[in-house]
Amino acid sequence: MEKELRLMKGNEAIAEAAIRAGADAYFGYPITPQSEVIEYLMTQEPHKRTGMVVLQAESEVAAINMVYGAAACGRMAMTSSSSPGISLKQEGLSYIAGAELPCLVLNVVRGGPGLGTIQPAQSDYFQSTKGGGHGDYRLIVIAPASVQEMYDSVELGFDLAFKYLNPVMVLADGIIGQMMEKVELGEQKQRRAPEAIAKQCPWATVGKPTTRERNIITSLDLVAANQEKFNIKLQNKYHEIQEKEVRYEMINCDDAEYIIVAYGSSARLSMKAMDILRAKGIKVGIFRLITLFPFPSKQLFDLADKVKGFLAVEMSAGQMIEDVQLAIQFKKPAKHFGRFGGVIPSPEEIANAMEQKIIGG
């Protein structure tokens, strides 16, 4: 069969991917730079294409709680927003993690704090990977670096969400959301029938038949000992995710003496910086994170024995760098370079930072 190729924005690609993946519901609230997600969905009339429910909610708070309601029915539900809106979703995310429900949340990050700016940033790394809401929980965080990966993140995200019964965040940024690239589209998948959902999600609240006990979706347990037991179960799940689901890409790392660690748009920008440095005879490789949680700590720890230093490049004032330093246990120098508040670093700046902070440093 011939490939179906289309030129799309990242925000449009992820919306099309949701329809084609057979997602059951999308709930969202407009915010720049990701409003194209719901705009595109509305133009597609998914209720006609697949029966998918798409609703513009009154707030990000309502949207994430609609996701909770749909996910608790065993449905493939998603929402999207950008940084200030994602802050509003933290309560809901904590409840979703606490109730062990699967869902997909897209954050097209913009500069903060506060209302910040509408330009691209990566300054929500801490919020995404360390919790964000209250309690001991983790999101699985996927960081796409292209429009194609935005598209692919839907299927991967829902797979992981249902496998581990955990919310999954796609952490993009304004560049990935807004830029247009060629995308290879997948086939239209059928939405799961109610019988299949009841079988896959025996916990789903879809109405209690006489054949089973009632299903209850809650994150409440007033007995502290039980709540601790539940938390241990959650932690075991996160450990399993850490063991099995680390994803990353190593580019020119075989002969590299210096490593750029980056994800998303920063990894794309760093490709050019690597070319600049290699042209000068400096052997630079890129370690691109695809999952931010789980973080590839072991892989970076091992890599630290083979190289001279690391530069963490991110469009933030320095967040991921903390995980890089922890991962390599300070075996080699690891420093941060970033532009932030919506400013995108140039490849030349990244190359200079590597020369000055790591090679010359």
Binding site: E58, G69, C73, G92, V206, G207, K208, T218, L220
Partner: protein, 262 residues
């Protein structure tokens, strides 16, 4: 002639009351005298009588009735504080043929969840919203609610609600009645047998309305909180009649999509 034994009396035709099979055998966690237990029982009876136990999904709030799922034998979701109408929106839109209801206190529905309540009502979601209004935060220990009456004491207004400082009580029920997406609105109580019968009829109608797909059916139950009000159960009911009902008058407010003119 042989004597009549207890076994002779326990017969179906002699039965005047039995627990609904939609109620579980768990002991209610409510204070003696509280109206929640009665309201739960009525919902269970309505679900049983309509034969919709396998088709009903309930959403319980944060507050005293957070553990409602322990008492009703149906599939239930527990919502974050105030967000029940958002959950119910999604459940109903995904499964339009099911019966979906929320059960919310005054803090949940009329304070932290005001936006979710108004917008679910305004969108005309085909759900039933059951609003228990006792004018106080029961679970957290008797703090002022959006529905606390002027002059009424609570732990965060120990000298009574001063409307100049603390604002006025909010009549959410009258407010949502004016929204186009709301099909029926009624205010009931469950403190006397007569009121219980009326409230049950209202609840039955509110669930049946879901079949019409004409929007929200909203049932407020003005109830008591003898613990929070610091009154005996009997005194609390008297106080409710004397103070709550004049401010929150019982009766239908919107019927078949039309506001009731008085």
């Amino acid at each position: 002639m042989s004597e009549i034994t207890l076994q002779d009396i326990i017969k179906e035709e002699n039965l005047v009351y039995k627990k609904s099979k939609v109620m579980t055998n768990n002991t209610l966690s409510y204070c003696p005298g509280c109206g929640h237990g009665t309201a739960h029982r009525l919902i269970a009876e309505v679900i049983e009588e309509l034969g919709i136990q396998s088709e009903t999904i309930g959403v319980c709030p944060v507050g005293c009735s957070v553990l409602m799922y322990n008492f009703l034998d149906i599939d239930m979701q527990q919502a974050a504080h105030g967000r029940a109408p958002a959950l119910a929106t999604a459940i109903k839109r995904i499964m339009p043929e099911k019966y979906v209801f929320t059960y919310q206190g005054d803090g949940d529905l009329a304070a932290i969840g005001t936006a979710e309540t108004i917008h679910a009502c305004n969108r005309g979601e085909n759900i039933t919203i059951i609003f228990i209004n006792n004018g106080i935060y029961g679970m957290t220990g008797g703090q002022m609610a959006p529905t606390t009456l002027p002059g009424m004491p609570a732990s965060t207004c120990p000298f009574g609600r001063n409307v100049e400082l603390m604002g006025n009580p909010l009549k959410m029920t009258e407010l949502v009645a004016n929204l186009a997406g709301v099909y029926s609105v009624t205010r009931q109580s469950v403190h006397t047998p007569r009121n219980v019968r009326r409230a049950k009829k209202a609840l039955l109608q509110a669930f049946e309305n879901q079949k019409l797909k004409r929007g929200v059916s909203f049932v407020e139950i003005v109830s008591n909180c003898n613990s929070g009000w610091k009154l005996t159960p009997r005194k609390a009911n008297e106080w409710m009649e004397e103070n709550m009902f004049p401010f929150y008058p019982l009766g239908d407010i919107k019927v078949d999509g039309q506001l009731v003119t008085k």
